[in-house]
């Protein structure tokens, strides 16, 4: 902020009024502005990616409204209430996941949806927040760094929902949920010995995990190694998205002018592969701008976590902020051909309701945790 420009008294009054309002609503102005900015950027890109389908654009617009409303509402919930709620939220989520496994709807070949008559939703979305809440709840009652027993319990808390989600099959969400729980563990002071040991065990587990993967999931990993081997099928996505990004150059082909995107060479261009549309139409500059936006959100979120008053708040806030970054880099890595194709949307930008709303709920919780620190001074 350039304070020299605030010489005019009316401007100053408006600014301080705004600050007061934000404080009353327990919101963080900087984080909120960044979220709004990235969301608007997303809407801008989606307008181009959606092509003739303006209905899709409007429905995303509406979802953004719902998301921010939820953020503001959740920011009003006191932190001790969130803490109290954590085990219940986790249990309910787990039960819903079990129900989905036996009675869920099948959409796009995977069993993820639960139909409650009025609304259909994916219980795995609840878990994106319930798992870090549960982990933070468990750890805040115990002295940190966590003992071996605590680590084992956390591991169990994480692995149950992750296994259920991976079996749906929804590998992308399963990875994100696992990451959110593991981040809590690492932020809670997991000893570097365990950390390195865990990485080693995971490396050793790759052949075992390979055995349990679905055929299409294996195909995706193989395709990453050699996209041309399956140019008509799974490799098609990666080849086309890299062509889109690469052909965009530094400045891009211009908004609404990406030939890959607009001629429909690029699949899933308004959902999982929208990152490629940005790369093609807005170029390297567009991608860097988005990356900077993301980094700001993560940085601000982590900073807010540092200021929280107790272990629960710190761990949960840190996990929400850092998991957000995992989202972003998994999607960007997939679209740029660094990671296998897993169905993870680009946060705040991809079309798709549940993902956006869940993210906003997380940031609402983050703001609540941050604001609650002031109550005790």
């Amino acid at each position: 902020m350039i304070y020299g420009e605030l010489g005019d008294s009316r401007t100053r009054r408006t600014v301080t009024g705004m600050a007061r309002l934000l404080r009353a609503l327990r919101l963080d102005g900087m984080l909120l502005s960044a979220l709004v900015a990235v969301s608007l950027f997303g809407l801008f890109v989606l307008y181009s990616a959606a092509g003739d389908n303006t209905a899709l654009w409007f429905s995303q617009f509406a979802r953004i409204g719902i998301g921010f409303t939820l953020l503001i509402l959740l920011a009003q919930v006191p932190d001790h209430f969130l803490r109290m709620l954590s085990p219940a939220a986790y249990l309910v989520g787990l039960i819903l996941l079990v129900i989905v496994a036996f009675a869920g709807d099948i959409g796009k070949g995977a069993q993820r949806w639960l139909d409650l008559g009025i609304i259909r939703f994916q219980p795995s979305e609840i878990m994106k927040l319930a798992v870090p809440m549960m982990c933070a709840w468990y750890m805040h009652q115990r002295p940190l760094p966590p003992s071996f027993k605590d680590i084992a319990v956390i591991f169990l808390i994480v692995i149950l929902p992750v296994a259920l989600i991976a079996e749906q099959p929804d590998l992308g969400t399963a990875l994100l949920v696992a990451a959110s729980g593991m981040i809590v563990l690492v932020m809670g002071g997991l000893s570097p010995v365990y950390l390195l040991g865990g990485v080693a065990v995971m490396g050793a587990a790759v052949p075992v995990a390979w055995h349990f993967l679905h055929d299409y999931q294996r195909q995706r990993i193989l395709t990453l190694l050699d996209p041309q081997s399956d140019a008509l099928g799974a490799g098609y996505h990666i080849i086309q998205s890299q062509i889109a990004i690469g052909s965009g150059g530094v400045f891009g082909k211009g908004w609404m002018n990406g030939s890959q995107a607009q001629l429909e060479f690029l699949p899933e261009r308004s959902t999982d592969f929208i990152f490629a549309v940005i790369g093609e139409e807005l170029g390297l500059l567009g991608l860097i701008a988005l990356l900077v936006g993301y980094l700001f959100i993560v940085g601000r979120g982590t900073y807010m976590a540092l200021q929280c008053r107790d272990a629960f708040a710190r761990l949960l806030a840190g996990s929400i902020a850092l998991t957000f970054f995992v989202y972003a880099c998994v999607n960007a890595g997939m679209v740029m051909g660094l990671l296998p194709v897993v169905g993870v949307p680009l946060p705040l930008v991809s079309y798709g309701g549940t993902s956006f709303v869940t993210l906003m709920a997380g940031f609402g919780i983050l703001m609540s945790l941050h604001s609650s620190r002031k109550l005790v001074g």
Partner: protein
């Protein structure tokens, strides 16, 4: 001694700060990696990707497999692939799809009624796929396209292999046809396998053996410019392009004898009906004719709405497969089977005589079941004479003695009331009535009661009993082999054109019928021979150099199926009985079993039997043995 750990918030906070710093470093590193990857793609490799995307880009062009060729039993080609021009539409190149479609209509390349179908078709495929919509263009249409080509972006004239049926309507109901893949078809097949393939088997053998005939598609990469036209770069660029050769589908060898089929169809002389001829020794179907037929080439070419409507609204129903799906009362053709059931159940002996006074009444009832007008009275008849003269009274009495349950059991064993299991889809099973069946077929209590009178008319193949021609031919083959039984089949072998490997299909034996008294077979066969030598079919069998065992029949027509108006003569014609004839020959060593039905043909002896005779003559006398 165990040290008790206590929560130390200051320590935890310090640790959290330390961990946060660690996390921030990791985040920064990953962000750098992502930015670096973007830099690599967008700056370092930019020219390469730009070339791929803008000026020239590699497009994947499908190489559709050759569909398997279908031969008849003598290796005559019944379905082949011939080069033909077809029009294809690529949605992403068409610009405004609606505009393109309306232009196609204006230039006479598409019927207005077909626009919706082509639109659906195009939208159901991926935007870069070429969707064939007019399959076999004639010279005039090619010329018209050439004139308007520049006004039709995204519409391309391609030479592709198209399905051709050299015999046209002959045998069309057995062979079936291919047509453009509809959205419904895409639901039941693997879409990827049809990349570049425009047609799919719709009925008959073409449908039942679709997966065998289809083959495996290949593809090649071609460089195309922004408008999608293929371009040539240097040899270096071409070398990078991949080609995967397609694999042709397997050829089929049918059991059909197409020349015999043609003779059978011509013998109908324009009348409606159907005929099945089966080799009793293995279930091979040599003739499978449903008339009137239709030209399957129309469908392979991409039938227009108006042509299709003309076929479906034709009162003669050329698309209706009378052999597979027509269910008719079998009439007197079942009398030999009824006689066999009587003998086996021990309720009659061949020499037992019954008096035929022209009508039959159940004990205690005054209702008279009559002989048909022309039969009159037969006097005292034994079994042989009853079959030979087709005496209804004898069989009314026999049916009443046997009772419906025993009739139902015997006839079910011979295949009535259930599909024969022929290797094409859509077959109907007809009805073999019984009190149990009546309970499920009717809803009210009064309708569900089985009356003794209903048993009586089942004795002459009327009442609720309906059968398909396939069932009648199969039951006749069963008499011919004296109890041996095979599932009828249309395909006898599959051949791989690449390797030349031939997979012969074994005849599929069904449980054979074992009689308690084997001599009963000969008693029945002898009675059927009598039918053609002095009985009801004498005229049709006159002069034959081999012996025929047969049985005539007529099936009553209860009502005119259609509500359309016909002139009076026409209505009278359509109310006439269906003529039936079943036979096998030579009677002592049967080579062929036949079932014929002529719709509204009147009597089986005069309308249906000569058709069977024509088939026997062609197969047994003229054909080299």
């Amino acid at each position: 001694m165990r040290r008790v750990r206590i929560k130390d918030d200051a320590l935890e906070q310090r640790m959290f700060i330390q961990r946060s710093l660690f996390a921030v470093v990791i985040v920064a590193l990953i962000a750098l990696l992502l930015a670096g990857r973007a830099f690599w793609l967008q700056v370092v490799q930019h020219a390469h990707y730009l070339e791929l995307s803008q000026g020239n880009r590699a497009r994947i062009e499908p190489l559709p497999p050759n569909r398997g060729i279908i031969y008849d039993r003598a290796r005559r080609v019944m379905a082949e692939n011939t080069p033909a021009y077809q029009l294809e539409l690529v949605r992403e190149q068409a610009g405004d799809l609606e505009d393109t479609l309306s232009r196609l209509v204006r230039f006479g390349l598409l019927e207005a009624a077909d626009v919706a179908r082509v639109r659906q078709l195009t939208l159901s495929r991926r935007s870069f796929e070429a969707v064939p919509f007019l399959l076999q263009l004639d010279d005039e249409e090619v010329a018209r396209y050439a004139v308007h080509r520049h006004e039709l972006p995204g519409v391309m004239l391609e030479t592709r292999m198209a399905r051709h049926y050299p015999y046209g309507p002959v045998g069309a109901h057995a062979l079936g046809y291919v047509g453009t893949i509809s959205e419904d078809d895409l639901v039941r097949v693997d879409r990827e396998r049809y990349f570049g393939t425009g047609v799919i088997g719709k009925t008959g053998v073409e449908r039942a053996y679709e997966q065998v005939l289809l083959g495996t598609g290949g593809y090649r990469e071609v460089l195309v410019n922004a408008e999608g036209r293929p371009v040539k770069l240097g040899a270096g660029a071409d070398a990078q392009l991949e080609t995967h050769e397609p694999q042709a589908g397997r050829d089929l060898r049918l059991t059909i004898d197409i020349e015999l089929q043609r003779i059978a169809e011509e013998a109908f002389a324009g009348r409606r009906g159907g005929v099945v001829a089966i080799d009793p020794s293995n279930g091979d179907v040599l003739v499978f004719a449903s008339l009137p037929s239709f030209d399957p080439n129309g469908f392979a070419r991409g039938i227009s709405r108006s042509e299709y409507v003309a076929l479906t609204e034709n009162p003669d129903q050329p698309l209706f497969n009378r052999v597979l799906r027509g269910t008719y009362p079998p009439g007197s053709t079942v009398k030999p089977l009824m006689a066999l059931a009587g003998l086996e159940n021990g309720v009659i002996r061949p020499e037992d005589q019954a008096y035929c006074g022209g009508s039959y009444s159940l004990p205690g009832s005054r209702h008279r079941f009559r002989e048909p007008k022309r039969g009159g009275t037969h006097g005292a008849v034994d079994m042989r004479r009853a079959v030979m003269k087709s005496c209804d009274v004898y069989f009314y009495r026999l049916a009443n003695t046997l009772g419906i349950e025993r009739i139902h059991d015997s006839m079910s064993r011979m295949g009535f009331g259930q599909p024969t299991g022929i290797d094409i889809a859509g077959e109907r099973g007809g009805i073999m009535p019984s009190p149990a069946w009546k309970k499920t077929a009717f809803s009210t209590r009064e309708q569900q009661v089985w009356f003794p009178g209903e048993t009586v008319i089942v004795g002459i193949g009327q009442g609720y009993w309906t059968a398909t021609l396939l069932q009648l031919a199969k039951a006749t083959a069963l008499l011919a082999t004296r109890g041996k039984h095979y599932r009828p089949r249309l395909v006898r072998a599959l051949a791989d054109p690449a390797t030349g490997a031939i997979e012969e299909k074994k005849p599929e034996a069904l449980p054979s019928i074992e009689l308690k008294h084997v001599e009963n077979w000969e008693i029945i066969v002898e009675a059927m021979v009598a039918v053609t030598t002095g009985g009801t079919a004498t005229q049709a069998a006159r002069g034959a150099t081999y012996s025929i065992a047969g049985k005539t029949g007529t099936a009553q027509v209860f009502s005119v199926g259609q509500t359309e108006k016909y002139d009076e003569k026409e209505v009278a014609e359509r109310l006439r009985d269906h003529a039936l004839f079943v036979a096998f020959a030579p009677a002592e060593a049967p080579k062929l079993a036949v079932a014929v039905l002529v719709e509204n043909g009147g009597f089986g002896s005069s309308a249906a039997a000569p058709i069977a005779r024509a088939i026997f003559d062609a197969y047994l006398v003229k054909a080299p043995q």
